[in-house]
Symmetry: C5
Subunit: 219 residues, 5 copies
């Protein structure tokens, strides 16, 4: 659409800076089907978050097999962050953490001493579904979206829907920013920015702080 | 339809006045996609609420990236109002509010000393979805509506669905009141009035007060 | 279908009398869109309930703007009845009711001293949706039905679905009993009877009483 | 499909006997629309349960107006059984049962001294929906199925879906076992057997007993 | 799709080993309709889990009549494992287990002294739905998927969707690995591997352990 001009001030532009980004911790859970799209989408999200000021070490990337597993993976990863946050408190109290037992070498946040162990401020759930000959696409897409909405509302942690629901492979590649042309755009970048914005806003709302005076823009 | 005439009195007309409007606090959460429609829709809602008697400073306007984020934004904004309301109580009790720490200059309701800090009486959730070539439209629309219904029923705070689900851009512009013609109508005005009505009725119902004698109109 | 005859007794006919109807309290919440259908539908429901023995003063009629608001209105009206019922108890205990503060002249059940102040035994939710050119119809209908089902199961109060989901205006008028012809039938009458039946049965089930011996009819 | 033969043992056949059937108590809730199908379906379910060993007096048959009311009816009937079960306990403790007040002559399980008053082990919810000219079919079917699934998962009591969702009357009659021909099969018989099987298995699982060694059949 | 090459490291490959598999306990609940597909699908899942290191005696296989019953069966089987796990604790405390009363010879995990009695780490729910002439397929598929998603999120136990939703028998056979050709693949194998992966990851997340440094792969 071509943007009309208004006699009123109208909605504020998207946030151009994220003052608290450097202290945010954000998770990504991605499925692995259609990896040729998943890879650039995850990269787009990571790069957008880093550009917004999120520290690379505070971005956690985990995978699940397919999009059906995204809601459970997102729910459990949010829980993992809460467990870590409460075990941090234990550390401060001098308790010996039982959580170090049986840790996998490649799966411990302790490997980076600078990384945040706070609860996640947002999670991006990334998957790519492409219509096939059965009804699998429809039921997975419906269940996945419904599940992710539930997890976001159950936990109060913003969950960004990073799931492409495409009818063709070409549509999926274009939305992953693969190839050239007017229709090519990496949606992962949008999801990364949305995660940082929602993380900041939900943190602010949680403190009882709301935008004042916004209705004046529509006078 | 042409309205028939009835031998019975029939349903009461929509409320023509809103006695408690000046004390209501109402939130608007809007997505930013298709801003050329969002802007007039938000304006329509704001103007209708002011016309109904809601004070401009008691209308809070916040935005989220897209319609997927509307349910979470609505849920969190309702929580924000409840936190503010309970922190008001703290103030009266002489407690030092911890909520002032780290406040953003542009995001503090303290900037207007007259503005209400009560819990929100209703929230209008505004977004504009237009059918594209993938199935994104269908899954976002479904998830968004389902999530907003859940938030309204979970919280007991009336949530007004201000989401256009259009097949063409022209449909969206017409329903945003942009352009001229018989089909052009700013739906935001309806949402604003609906929010005030539902706020008043839900407040009344919450006090155990119901309309008596209404069945006589159908005798 | 033409009804076949059975060698077994088969299902019992619909109840022909409602022994407890005179003590039931039933709410109607209706939307106001397509009022030319809403009015006769509400009348049909009211008349059917009165014919079944429900007292006119024990039928409460409230309205909300549109069908989206039906689940919240139904939920809140059920709550209103529970508040009234518990405030009755307060009265008996000699407490001064705070609920009388700020009462609206037209919205107080005290205006009829004979009217029940008990919790509602059932609520009928009435709306008329007609397919338009956008997808508004589909998402409102889906959300409304899902929300009303939730409210009924959450509260344990029977909620009758009085929502027409029509593809044409003619279909809506016919099902509202407007006009003449074989296809014309006021569905509101069915909803009224269904509300009384469900109210009685749910009250009975709530006391642990079930029909005994019904399986003998299928021997 | 023609059944292939396997080099492995494969899934066990459906249960051929039901050792605990004589002590089970099972409810049927049926709608009354399209009674010419409902009647044989309920009979099919009753007969199949009796054949499996359920006592006729332990099968409770109740009706609701239409399929919309099935989830609420099923939920409330499950509650009724729990109330009865707990009032039995009261009786053993010598308490005077308040539940006998206002009992209807035709609606008291006391009329059969041999009938179980335990909580229901399963409920079969039976309705017949046939596509009409509006969207009523789709929204009722969707809401009914979703509601019945919720009731089963909320209560832990197995709920069998006995709802036909047909596009023509002929389809409904065939699936009710009415008429002759290859396509004619009374689905009620399947529902009856499924209810007994699920009742036994859920009772067993509730005791922490699971089939051991089943994976050997796939070696 | 042909896999592009990336200038960045990209997502990690699926796990090639499962260090904790030998201590996992995994349930399979399968429907029995279309057994010619169910049998190879269950076998594929069992074989894949054994290949990943799960012990055969720690795989429990149970059946329910049809796909409608899968969510309830999955929920109840998860409960069964929790009951067993807590009764193990009782044993250690010297309590006499009441759970042995009335045990069926073929349905007791005691028959294999080596088998785990821990809570299930994951459950695979397997069914095969094929489109017929009524709308049964659509409503069962929708309810089944929605119910399984709920059970997974309610319990925190990963539930793998092993439900084929096919438009033709040929599609179902191909996805069950029956026959020959490029399109033939036993999806049960994928489900088995997914169950082991999700079991390990959810156990790890539950301990507050997350992958560190994953965002570096997208630099």
């Amino acid at each position: 659409m071509s943007a009309p001009t208004y006699a009123f001030k109208g909605p504020s532009a998207p946030p151009s800076s994220f003052p608290t980004a450097s202290s945010l911790r954000i998770g990504i859970v991605h499925a692995r089907w259609n990896t040729e799209c998943i890879a650039p989408l995850v990269k787009g999200a990571v790069q957008a978050m880093k550009k917004a000021g999120v520290k690379e070490e505070n971005i956690v990337v985990e995978s699940v097999p397919g999009s059906w597993e995204l809601p459970a993976g997102t729910q459990r990863l949010i829980t993992a962050g809460q467990v870590q946050a409460s075990s941090n408190v234990d550390d401060l109290m001098g308790a010996t953490s039982l959580l170090d037992d049986g840790g996998n070498a490649d799966a411990s946040s302790q490997s980076s001493s600078k990384a945040s162990r706070a609860a996640f401020d947002a999670v991006i759930s990334i998957g790519v579904l492409i219509k096939g000959s059965t009804m699998h696409f429809e039921y997975i897409a419906q269940s996945c979206c419904e599940g992710l909405m539930r997890v976001g509302l159950d936990t109060g942690t913003p969950v960004i829907l990073g799931v492409l629901t495409c009818l063709t492979e070409e549509q999926a590649l274009q939305r992953s920013g693969v190839g050239e042309g007017a229709g090519v755009h990496n949606h992962g970048e949008d999801w990364g920015t949305a995660a940082v914005e929602m993380a900041e806003k939900c943190n602010r709302w949680g403190k009882g702080k709301v935008e004042a005076g916004g209705a004046k823009n529509y006078a």
